[in-house]
Symmetry: C2
């Protein structure tokens, strides 16, 4: 009977969620492509591709060091469009709110949303507001969907080859640690990494082949996904993977794997070897922790070279950290 039940692992970004989603099988997708990617794409002629994505946000607590649910809802969807190479054109915003929720708090969340909209010049163009009875929903859930357009040859769905380099735009685990610090009332200097990635992406788009944002399931999830999808392997150098000292301390203390933690303002990209250093240099202008962390290999798995030897980085499984986004 337990097999029939949805549990928290089904929302964690790990193997259980992928299996559930695979069971959905919606049938024909018409002319749409990349439906299992960060955004789906549709050729709309005139060398243009339409890019479309959606995400719901259930983060708990609503406010955390450096951000809040509104900030996250904006950045999450903007970044899902951005990592496809697209310039986001507009977002939708749908609230489901618990009866009794404070209008003042709602307006604080709205201010945060407006800030990102203004900063990125990406407008909120359509919306919806539903209210559920007290106790029927935990405070507020936000869905944002987004559309963007990209020139066909700038779409980041290019073919990866052995020898290509893997680059990350900043340190791992900061969003999760900021959130957990608030949940467990633990004092830390770390703030969420949640941020719109539009500028970083435009700076390197023409130099890279693909990009992914490591949200639920962290880089462990997206790198294993890449391996499966492109039939390649990835070799990482552990000492090159940027993790702030305080993040390391917290994850060690809590016994969680930093490679499985969701980032909300980072992307991992793959570039031909001749471009890798330039990509790293450009990304460092936005975040000094940006780094070339590994390369594409033949062997069909994610391997980390550590101080103690090689180890395999498996696709995450189990609960990881619930309601992180």
């Amino acid at each position: 009977m337990e097999k029939d039940i949805i549990n928290l692992t089904h929302g964690s970004g790990g193997r259980e969620m992928k299996k559930l989603i695979a069971s959905f099988n919606f049938g024909e997708r018409g002319e749409w492509k990349d439906c299992d990617d960060d955004s789906a794409t549709l050729d709309i002629g005139d060398n243009k591709t339409l890019v479309f994505t959606t995400d719901s946000f259930t983060v708990n607590p609503l406010f955390f060091p450096g951000g809040d649910i509104g900030h996250l809802a904006m950045c999450g969807t903007i970044n899902d469009l951005t990592v496809m190479g697209a310039v986001p054109l507009g977002l939708s915003l749908a609230f489901v709110i618990e009866e009794g929720f404070s209008q003042k708090v709602l307006h604080r969340i709205l201010d945060s949303i407006k800030n990102i909209s203004k900063k990125t010049s990406i407008p909120i163009v359509t919306g919806d507001t539903k209210v559920m009875e007290r106790g029927k929903i935990d405070k507020i859930v936000i869905n944002t969907s987004g559309v963007g357009i990209v020139e066909k040859d700038q779409l980041l769905t290019k073919k990866i080859e052995v020898g290509d380099k893997v680059i990350i735009s900043g340190g791992l685990g900061e969003h999760a640690v900021a959130l957990l610090s608030k949940r467990f009332d633990y004092k830390t200097e770390i703030i969420t990494d949640s941020k719109p990635l539009v500028e970083e992406m435009l700076a390197v788009r023409d130099l890279i082949k693909i990009a992914k944002d490591p949200t639920r399931g962290g880089i462990a999830s997206i790198l294993n996904e890449l391996c499966g999808k492109h039939s390649i392997g990835i070799q990482l150098e552990e000492e090159k993977i940027p993790v702030k000292q305080e993040v390391s301390k917290v994850v060690e203390m809590l016994g969680i794997d930093v490679f499985q933690l969701a980032c909300e303002g980072r992307f991992v990209c793959v570039a031909p070897p001749e471009n890798a250093e330039e990509v790293e240099k450009k990304l460092k202008e936005f975040n000094p922790d940006a780094s070339i962390i590994g390369e594409i290999i033949e062997d069909n798995k994610v391997i980390i070279n550590t101080f103690l030897g090689k180890r395999i980085l498996p696709d995450p499984t189990g609960r990881i950290v619930p309601r992180i986004c």
Copy 2:
């Protein structure tokens, strides 16, 4: 203090909701138009307009005569694109599910979603699945967003004039009565009106000026909105407004106003007088209850000519019926 609080009226489609949403004020919308309409629109060149919309569904109960939350989530968003004159290109689908929810029930909802997708040839192209802890959300909430494209001159945002006719595509109140019958365990033959309106719309699109689907707040809400937006009035003939006898009986018994009830498979459209009868005729092929119900007048309000004389149909206010969609 109570003033600071979100309550069920803020989600009812009435005046309180409109006031709350007006307070959001997201600032610049760039080149997007119709942001307060069923879907926002963006000129993407080559005589094409992109149409984009979103909706969350919290309906209770999840299954009701003739439909379920999945059916509703598909039809709601398809229809919001359709009433703009657009052909829907693809939908997103985002689930927020309660821990402990039955996978079997989830797959029943998915089957319903797939059915509509297949029937309309509108694919689900991108999605998201979140799980919240037991007790933190009532079973399941679904968000669908959608994109469509329409030739610029087929966009249903044309200017309404005095003398134009108002036509409805079928009877009122059937969705609400089907839902309430299930909620109150009352036996009725009435099933939800929830259905995709693509075919009806394509049959009359070139004959009409605008269309709206009367969801939350019913025709009372959308007709008052039209009056405000176009600075016109509307005169309805009560005897022409199609309401099935059993629907009349139930709403009378419950003391609710059928004009305020959400329909999920109806649209109201405005056509030049010379096209009105042809529109009515074409719509009757899909639903014999389709009817010309009134006309555009100068006086800036919605007036109903009844058996007992004229009365004003006000913009709804208060709770109406919660969680109907």
